[in-house]
């Protein structure tokens, strides 16, 4: 009798903990959502671009897994170009973000110009490497 009773209490405690963690998780997601909604639109566009680039990279990796990696340089250049544009977009986001105190006096035009230059070099190299 007694062990069964104890066992039941343990299960109850675990359920409560699980519920609290799940409710915690829900609260977390909600607060993340609200905080994220506060970001200005141009940053959200950049984030969307980053997500798109990463998704493309994942698709390429899956494709390589299916088909095999024969022209390895093409695979490498494709994946790295996606990752590269994602990284550069994140850098742009860092520089354009008005809340970022370190880049207060950096005009956004300069940030965009740098971003374009970097992308140019990146894609030049990619074209060369595609083979």
């Amino acid at each position: 009798m007694i062990p069964v009773h104890l066992h039941f209490e343990e299960i109850e405690k675990k359920l409560r903990m699980a519920k609290s963690t799940s409710s915690d998780a829900q609260m977390l997601i909600r607060s993340l959502r609200t905080a994220y909604a506060a970001t200005p639109t141009n940053l959200k566009i950049i984030d969307l671009y980053v997500v798109y680039a990463i998704v493309t990279a994942v698709i390429q990796v899956v494709y390589m897994g299916v088909v095999g990696s024969f022209p390895f340089n093409s695979f490498l250049s494709g994946v790295l170009s996606c990752v590269g544009t994602a990284v550069l977009a994140v850098c742009l986001r860092i520089q354009v973000n008005k809340e970022n105190k370190e880049f207060k006096d950096l005009p956004p035009e300069r940030a965009y110009a740098d971003f374009i230059l970097c992308n140019l070099v990146l894609h030049l190299v990619i074209m060369n490497f595609l083979g």
Partner: protein, 674 residues
Amino acid sequence: MWWLLNSLNIPLSVETVCVFTAPIFSANAAWATYLLTKEVKGTGAGLTAAALLAMVPSYISRSVAGSYDNEAVAIFALILTFYFYVKTLNSGSLFYATLNALSYFYMVCSWGGYTFIINLIPMHVLLCIVTGRYSSRLYIAYAPLVVLGTLLASLVPVVGFNTVMTSEHFSSFLVFVIIHMVALVYYIKGILSPKMFKVAMTLAVTIGLTVCCAVIAIFIASVASSPTKGWSGRSLSLLDPTYASKYIPIIASVSEHQPPTWPLYFVDINVLAFLVPAGIIACFSPLSDASSFMILYLAISAYFSGVMVRLMLVLAPAACVMSGIALSEAFDVFTRSIKFQAGDINSESSIAQNDVSNVDSNATTDKSETVSKEPSRKNHEKEKEQEIVKKVTSKSQNGKKLLVLPQEVSAVVILLLIALGGFYVGHCVWTTATAYSAPAIVLKSYTPDGLRVFDDFREAYAWLQHNTDVDDKVASWWDYGYQITAMANRTVIVDNNTWNNTHIATVGAAVSSPEKAAWEIFNSLDVKYVLVVFGGLVGYPSDDIDKFIWMVRIAGGVFPHIREQDYLRDGRYHIDAHATPTMLNCLMYKLSYYRFVETEAEGFDKVRRTEIGNKKFELTHFEEAFTTEHWMVRIYKLKLPKNRIQGKLKNKSSSETYSSNQTRARNTRRNPWQ
């Protein structure tokens, strides 16, 4: 560059361009050092560091006019890459990040030592993250470099896919992942309230840990399956200094790959050797990202320079930058106190506070100078130190730590510092003139009867060029390959650029075998002449018998029938009466000491300082073609095989029977390797 100059209608021959490339790039390197140090500390330090690098013997040894080696360019690229990295770190602009990646690409093109960069920068990023100095500028400095750098490095054919396959680059990818995680953490921390953040952390840690363990397990399994765990031979020999001597004798045999001796540090970077610790402390006083990078660079390169002499070259820029910082800080302190004294006494506690921060570097510099100067000055220095201490304690009561050095003391110390610089310059000039400038082809020695010039190498190469056919192939040890190709204009079997180990091992096997076997090996390689360098008559220490150890080892690595034990007696190489029979019969011994008894030395080898073991012997398969004046270079011709057809055909090296002999030799040639 020659093409560029020619298109600008400046007529220069290719040789001139080759000769002057190295000094031009070393000038560029001094400029790059100025830029780098300016980013770390300021313009004063930059100028000092550039001046130091312009003269440091270690770098000069690689960038002498006429030495067309890639390391002069490589060090320039290295310093430039580091400059752009530090500049991006300080300014956070993507433009410099792009330039960083491009100069990294230049580095990859020029030297295999680029792996140093691609491992040092991730380590520095990790250090910054761990010490809590993460900032978005760090991300901008590092992440584009990894992506662009990997791509650009893959473009270079030598590297190719090694960028993603070998373990040398894995640290950059690992830190890439880590920096993304850290960036994410900081971002989420920024947009969440602290309570929520705690919850997020616990969730993330539990999930992340399990995923991490799985990934790491897979990774370790895949890496452990390869025999060297994915590291290349070069990197392994750096990490484990004894690796090369055990497994790859050819890497171990290069004299530049031996560990340096202590005096070599002083020869190569002289005064900088003890200014460097002062510089390290000066870097700590305002510890910024850039100065932590310099400290890390110095520490790592100091470790690696202890492994290989060749890597002293990588230490040199770091040492120059650090000492430049130290020297300029020291100058700052003293000139400021002179100005202070000359100006208003009541004012400018701000200057004094700067002086306080330099007390440490000051004291250390004083201590180091004490060590270097004569003991008569020791009392003076100690007095000064006591004065400094007294002044600190007396003025600290004010709360403002004013530090004022009396004018005379500062003036004397400045003069001493300048004298230090003078010593450095003098040493550099002397080293460059004696040690690194002498062309290795023409040797000179100062005997009691005056200057004696040994022009044997050029004599031998000229003989080769004039007395042999254009198609004749010459076999020698790979050290002389380039010289023979350039000066004698004959094809060689192996030269300094041969990376095929079996090739060199074949030549090594040939000279370690008895005459008949050696003849067969050389015949199969279509060799006509064998060139041997012998220093026993005049005492030239680095001849082929001296290098014989390595020939045996390298050959033994590929051909198991050559055992090093066969040539050793009691674990040492002998060429005298104690030598083993294998040694006395091998080709190198015979070719070096043939007819040696007929000289005035009568069989006494001046280098090994013993009489040779086997004095009188005849060569059956080779004949002596030429020996130079001081017996330093000896050329032998392969005897053609005896004609089996009719009678005895006397083998002559004269030209009239040469062509007929050659056709018959071709018919009777056997290839023992098939």
